[in-house]
Amino acid sequence: MDNSLLGIFQYVDDLLAAAEKCKKSGYGITIISPVPLVHEIEHTFGESKNPVKYFTGLGAITGYLFGTLFAITTSILYVLPRSGRPIIAIPPILLISYETTILLGVLFTLMGFIVLALAPSFKAKEYDVGLAIDSFGLLVDGVRENKFGDIEKVMREYGANEVKRIEKK
């Protein structure tokens, strides 16, 4: 059985140092924090991938095509001329597709975020109330029973206030 170990830190540099150490030992780590540590983590571990952009791009392109085709087809489906203008008038099409590009871009980005970031953790348990307020957690996954002691020792060494064992059901 693989279990996880959660160390709770007060200072971010402590946490990052411990995280670096654990990662070098080959464990999967997750950092839980009440504030974004994007820059600090990138500084330590290098830049991570950004898969949301594919959703955004897809949404924007879909939106543009949708807007253009929608405006063209609906004007042709029921032809009613107005003001001596052509049935397929280009400026409105550009405007409509501009708006739909943004609309679908935003919605797809949101969807991408939900799929990528939130959906995997729908069922995960919260580990500590403090992690949402003022302490920082280092979650080490895939720790064998007999290695608990070692990891805990590393965390304590780097200044963890508390180390918890999380047992998976």
Partner: protein, 442 residues
């Protein structure tokens, strides 16, 4: 930002705004809600029952106070999104404490925008015909109509604003869900979508926010220019001006920033704890924006008049005469210039920025001035259209005065309910502002 505030203190302060409710709050809320019902909903019901005839609208002044207020609230809606989107992209630190409040203002302003569309329409129960959707009639909407542009632009804007507002709120709601009890806990847990605050989530959140910002910033520009095309695409003197798109956008931002200032000032008085987070520093930054926008606005106002003069058609001249030289409107024009071009310039003095005068009086004047700008454009241009036989002076009736006032009360009461459910200051961003705790200080 005061760096001595601890994270715990910030969390407690901001959730305190939500949970600590005194009798004063209920008194004010009841008053506002009752006023909203009696000023907005009852007159509106009366208007729907007896028709638009109860308004002072008349041929040819078909666009009156309702449309003025429609544009006005679209304008108010602008600052929120601009502050959160543009300043997010540029990672400006002072946006953090005020962005959520501004976004909330946007959200409810857009609510009023749709309300005014309904109030304005002759047959609001057929509103859905303006939506393009497959229907049994097989007929669609007219894509050359600026009203259809409006439907798309404002629809997109509303959707994106809601997404942006609630998306930014997810970490806060997750954090609140641990301490809250009862229905709040259930609500926050449901709305936080299983947010835990892992590094991956934070990373994707930052990236997604960046994309939202990048999308919404051009949207801000497009929405009010689309609204301005409601006018600029016509042939009416006073409406058909190419300067309208930037003019409207600038005006919208000016009124929006004034609205943000006023809203923050009132919130600070109501909840003194906010003074810790919204400080003189923020007033400094926002007021600089107001000064810049006011200068741009002044230039564009000048250009609006000058282009009319240079066109030198008899209709344009007649319109300008009506706007600038005839008794009530010339005074209103002077008041508009005073409150939009002169008063905001006082913000140059640093002392004024954080004084009572700078926090309350100037924003109120700017808000009034911007309302006047729309008023002087919308019904006034229609009063002097082409054929002199049809010239008509517009005088609104009590219904038209009452509904916008009631709408303001409605706005306030919705806002008051909102601050009791959702955090009005972004908790995690304030914490970010305080600084990340490091053992080795550098």
């Amino acid at each position: 930002m005061d760096r001595t505030i601890t994270y715990k203190e910030a969390s407690e302060d901001i959730s305190g705004i939500i949970t600590k409710t005194g009798w004063k709050y209920y008194a004010v809320l009841t008053l506002m809600a009752v006023s909203a019902v009696s000023f907005l909903f009852l007159p509106w019901a009366y208007q729907i029952y007896s028709g638009q005839g109860v308004t002072g609208l008349n041929a040819p002044v078909f666009w009156g106070l309702y449309l003025v207020n429609f544009i006005y609230w679209v304008g108010i809606a602008h600052a929120g999104t601009l502050i959160s989107a543009m300043l997010y992209i540029t990672q400006t630190p002072w946006r953090r404490a005020i962005a959520r409040g501004a976004e909330t203002m946007t959200f409810f302003a857009l609510f009023l925008v749709s309300l005014f569309i309904f109030v304005h329409m002759g047959r609001p129960w057929n509103f859905y015909w303006t939506m393009p959707y497959p229907n049994q009639r097989q007929i669609w909407t007219n894509f050359t109509s600026p009203i259809t542009f409006d439907v798309f632009a404002i629809g997109t804007y509303t959707t994106s604003s809601i997404v942006f507002l609630f998306f930014g709120m997810i970490p806060d709601l997750a954090s609140l869900s641990h301490t809250a009890t009862g229905w709040r806990k259930r609500l926050y847990t449901a709305l936080s979508f299983g947010w835990r605050g892992t590094d991956r989530q934070w990373h994707l959140q930052a990236k997604a926010c960046m994309f939202f910002g990048a999308f919404i910033m051009p949207l801000v520009v497009s929405v009010h220019s689309v609204v301005s095309w409601d006018f600029a695409l016509s042939v009416v003197p006073g409406y058909a001006k190419t300067v309208f798109a930037p003019y409207f956008v600038t005006g919208a931002l000016l009124s929006g920033f004034a609205g943000v200032l006023l809203m923050l000032s009132i919130m600070r008085e109501a909840y003194p704890v906010m003074k810790k987070y919204v400080t003189a520093y923020h007033y400094d930054k926002v007021t600089i924006f107001v000064v810049v926008l006011s200068l741009i606005w002044s230039y564009l106002t000048l250009m609006e008049v000058v282009t009319g003069l240079y066109a030198n058609t008899s209709q344009e001249i007649e319109h300008l005469k009506y706007k600038l030289a005839i008794s009530p409107f010339s005074y209103l024009f002077a008041l508009m210039i005073f409150s939009n071009s002169v008063l905001p310039l006082l913000y140059i003095f640093k002392k004024l920025r954080n004084s009572f005068f700078g926090r309350f009086i100037i924003p109120v004047f700017v808000l009034i001035g911007m309302w006047l700008e729309r008023f002087l454009i919308v019904p006034n241009s229609l009063s002097r259209k082409f054929l002199p036989w049809m010239w008509h002076d517009y005088s609104p009736t009590w219904v038209e005065y009452s509904i916008p006032i009631g709408a303001l009360f409605f706005f306030i009461s919705m806002f008051m309910v909102f601050i009791k459910v959702f955090p009005i200051i972004a908790i995690f961003e304030v914490k970010e502002d305080i600084g990340i705790p490091m053992r080795k200080s550098h």
